[in-house]
């Protein structure tokens, strides 16, 4: 009996061997290592999580955008070095009327889709119509709401798309009528929500409102960017290669890019160390001190348009008292936090908007002042922390958040004599708790969608979808509204600065630090410049053997 069984298991072994061999034939091609890839001109990039979709109008994340921006090019695109400049994309020139409310784009006539079709102004009209069609249910649709009548069309109150302020004057001229003056429109226009999509491809795979994303699969995907999608193996890799039809194909230095979705930071580090990657997505904070010493030429820490902050639930006592919130915000030693806990050259944030905009000065009354913090807490009725209830600090489970939270809770304990209970939760529960105001203090982070302070400040308007603090201030709301309609950049910034001052006086949030993008890069990668949103045109990136 047992011997039977043993011989059967031998047979099983043989079968497994055959099975394994068969499966290897299926995926026998080799992935180049970093050295081979340099010779072949292929960039190997760690890209965080697996992209959920490559449809620019359904995409919602940074990960997706890293791939999409290689495949699709908008009217204007990312500048290789300067964050305050827009690089011409499909549009070779543009002009706005005097109050920046009507923009006219002149499309280059050599722009082509990856199947050879010309890219025309009609493609953009179709794309914006698709984005705004209610049935598509595009999550980032409100990026387009600055177009005249766009919101009405999306909400269904206007049904004729010709009433929406997008018009192809001819094949190569596109006019966009905005709801009002928008001097910062070019910054918004770089967002992938404004990407063109190829109408015949979309129509061939389920039509305008199809949710399956079939058209984005390799073989189906038609784009107009410097690269075309050649392979997508979920949870393994995503490969793009040079697009011969791209209008600026001569400038494209790389022959291809392989994006690896790597969700484990340690795996990514090992891949980099063993020569499987050129650029990583991230670096663990505990590794930074060592990397500074041993591989400074590979470690990059670029300023990033993102803020790490804590939300206060202003509907719950004692946090409904601005003095308490202020005391908590003043007691944190941010300098120590970035030097000793996050360690990645982050800047201590005493205001909300990251310092990335020429002409925008942070307005704030926050600083590190434990003395004043104790006074405020005493004024609020908790001298020396006496009688202060034990609050919860909510954060989503992640090592780096845990470290920051433990450090800050201990600072509050030391300076103010109050205790706080850490409460880590699974991501979805954390999100639900935040949106239902089911927390006392909650960790939060915000990455700008586009290059304007507005992307940070408009979220704290009364009942804003991302406010999540219960805070409301009529004057603030009005300033934001006026800033959205200001005619000049100066006026726009001034109104936003006034709004930020209110936000920092009322402290519904305590900014902690401004992020940096921390990653490892092979020195043979050239043209990889620091960018505030970490978006760079891949056509300027090259690989050079040393």
């Amino acid at each position: 009996m047992v011997t039977d069984w043993l011989s059967n298991s031998r047979k099983l072994g043989k079968y497994l061997l055959v099975l394994a061999l068969a499966s290897w034939v299926g995926c026998g091609d080799r992935i180049p290592n970093a050295d081979q890839a340099v010779e072949q001109g292929i960039l190997l990039k760690g890209n965080g999580a697996e992209p959920r979709t490559l449809d620019p109008q359904k995409a919602t994340g940074v990960t997706e955008n890293k791939v999409i921006s290689a495949l699709i090019e908008g009217l204007v695109t990312y500048h290789p070095t300067d964050d305050n400049e827009a690089e011409p994309g499909v549009a070779e020139s543009w002009e706005a009327n005097e109050d920046s409310s009507v923009w006219t784009f002149h499309l280059r006539d050599n722009a082509r889709w990856s199947n050879g079709d010309p890219v025309t102004a009609h493609d953009f009209v179709y794309s914006y119509q698709r984005m705004l069609t209610p049935e598509l249910a595009a999550e980032y649709v409100n990026m387009l709401f600055i177009i005249e009548n766009a919101e009405a069309f999306n909400r269904g109150t206007v049904s004729d798309f010709s009433e929406v302020g997008v018009e192809a004057l001819d094949d190569h001229t596109l006019r966009i009528q905005l709801v009002g003056p928008t001097p910062y429109f070019l910054g918004i226009l770089q967002h992938y929500a404004w990407s063109p999509v190829h109408q015949p491809t979309i129509e061939a795979h389920g039509g305008m409102t199809d949710q399956s994303g079939t058209w984005t699969l390799p073989g189906n995907f038609v784009g107009n960017g410097p690269f075309i999608l050649s392979e997508w193996r979920p949870n393994q890799l995503l490969r793009v290669e040079r697009n011969p039809y791209y209008w600026d194909a001569e400038r494209v230095a790389l022959n291809g890019i392989i994006f690896f979705p790597i969700s484990d930071d340690n795996t990514e580090r090992r891949m980099f160390d063993s020569g499987q990657l050129h650029v990583t997505n991230t670096v663990r904070s505990n590794d930074i001190p060592n990397l500074r010493r041993t591989q400074p030429e590979r470690l990059r820490m670029d300023p990033y348009l993102a803020t790490y902050y804590y939300r206060f639930n202003t509907t719950r006592p004692p946090l409904d008292d601005v003095r308490v919130r202020r005391a908590l915000a003043l007691a944190v030693n941010r300098q120590r936090l970035v030097e000793r806990v996050t360690m990645g050259d982050q800047s201590p944030a005493y205001a909300y908007v990251p310092p990335a905009f020429d002409g925008y000065e942070n307005q704030t009354s926050l600083r590190h002042d434990p003395e004043r913090a104790r006074e405020l807490l005493a004024e609020a009725g908790f001298p020396g922390g006496e009688g202060f209830p034990r609050l919860n600090l909510l954060f989503n489970t992640l090592e780096d958040h845990r470290k920051v939270a433990e450090a800050i809770v201990s600072m509050w304990n030391e300076e103010l004599g109050i205790g706080m209970q850490l409460e880590n939760k699974e991501w979805m529960v954390y999100l639900a708790d935040q949106s239902q105001l089911n927390f006392d203090v909650a960790r939060a982070g915000w990455v700008g969608d586009y290059l304007d302070p507005m992307t940070f400040l408009d979220m704290f308007v009364t009942d804003g979808g991302n406010n999540n603090t219960g805070w409301s201030n009529a004057e603030y709301d009005e300033l934001i509204q006026r800033a959205q309609r200001s005619r000049t950049q100066e006026e726009h910034y001034q109104l936003l600065m006034d709004a930020e001052r209110i936000l920092m006086d009322e402290v519904p949030i305590a900014p902690l630090y401004w992020y940096t993008r921390i990653y490892l890069i092979d020195p043979r990668v050239k043209g990889w410049e620091p960018k505030a949103l970490d978006n760079r045109p891949y056509k300027y990136v090259s690989l050079e053997a040393e």
């Binding site: 505990n286 845990r402 433990e406 201990s410 209970q421 850490l422 880590n424 939760k425």
Partner: protein, 307 residues
């Protein structure tokens, strides 16, 4: 449950069975016997005292160190072992020795209590199912199949939102998960036992089902149970750190060996001491439990009494 009519209680045809029955029926002498045999097993005895020492280390130790397990000392982060910090410091500069001791409180507690919970449920359930047999057994085991397959993560997340965070819930959840395999193993053993003569004899003597299961069947599977229980302890300790990840269970700054080992594994390359030291304590405990388990197995085995 039927048994051959010919096997009457007065039958003298099976003398070995009588001996077994005697031994099992006289419970007290069995346990005394077991203790005597256990204490003559040197390895098991050493393990026992080491475990006692470990418990003292974890529960009394924190009172003796001058460091706090919770207050960060940011200037002192990630220092290797030194005279001041024998086990080094963690990424917030806290004394790792103190944290290992404190973490042991949670892990030993969870490991032993939750294993016990799973053991009791699993053994009783498995033995009952196997002994009763037929439709009842079938239904009971299909219920186990259902529990196996339910998505555990979702289940935990739900529990977490329904109830307040508590250590009791942690024990219950872990116990609720870990008893399944135990039940299957015990059932497999009992099925092979229940057709043996001594059980049929016990039935014919008119003993109650409960008594047969508790006094006659379970003692005979304790050997296998002891082995599997020692395997459950590490699984339970590690499961605790996963539950804490989901937000159930212990919250930082309270450490556990599971979370310390996870931190160590993440920092394996640069700060190996963060992994090695908690892993050593974890392993030492499991070695001791294992040898103690083996010792118990030998001591409880009614057959080996004739050695």
């Amino acid at each position: 449950m039927s048994f051959p009519k010919s096997l009457s209680p007065s039958s003298k045809r099976l003398p070995t069975v009588e001996i077994q029955l005697d031994q099992i029926e006289e419970g007290t002498s069995l346990w005394q016997d077991a203790w005597r045999r256990l204490s003559s097993n040197r390895l098991a005895l050493i393990s026992f005292w080491l475990l006692v020492a470990m418990v003292l280390f974890c529960f009394v130790g924190p009172l003796l160190t001058s460091y706090s397990y919770r207050t960060p000392n940011l200037d002192n982060a990630l220092q290797g072992p030194s005279w001041a910090h024998w086990f080094g410091t963690d990424d917030l500069g806290r004394d790792q020795l103190t944290r290992v001791m404190k973490g042991g409180q949670i892990s030993l507690g969870v490991g032993i209590l939750a294993t016990t919970v799973s053991l009791i449920i699993g053994v009783l359930y498995g033995a009952t199912a196997a002994y009763l047999g037929g439709k009842i057994d079938n239904a009971m085991m299909r219920f186990v199949d259902v529990l196996y397959a339910l998505p555990f993560t979702i289940f935990v997340i739900l529990l977490m939102t329904l109830f307040e965070r508590s250590i009791l819930l942690l024990f219950l959840v872990i116990g609720a998960v870990e008893w399944l395999t135990m039940a299957r193993i015990v059932r497999g053993q009992v099925i092979s036992l229940k057709r043996q003569e001594f059980i049929e004899a016990a039935v014919s003597m008119g003993l109650s089902t409960r008594r047969i299961i508790v006094r006659h069947l379970i003692p005979n599977v304790l050997g296998v149970v002891a082995v599997y229980a020692t395997l459950t302890v590490p699984a339970v300790m590690l499961l605790e750190s996963f539950l804490s990840f989901l937000g159930l269970g212990v919250q930082p700054p309270m450490p556990s060996w599971g979370s310390l080992i996870k931190l160590g594994a993440d920092n394996l390359q640069l700060y190996p001491y963060l992994l090695v030291i908690p892993a050593l304590f974890f392993s030492l405990t499991l070695f001791c439990l294992n040898f103690l388990g083996d010792g118990l197995r030998d001591a409880l085995d009614p057959q080996s009494s004739k050695d």
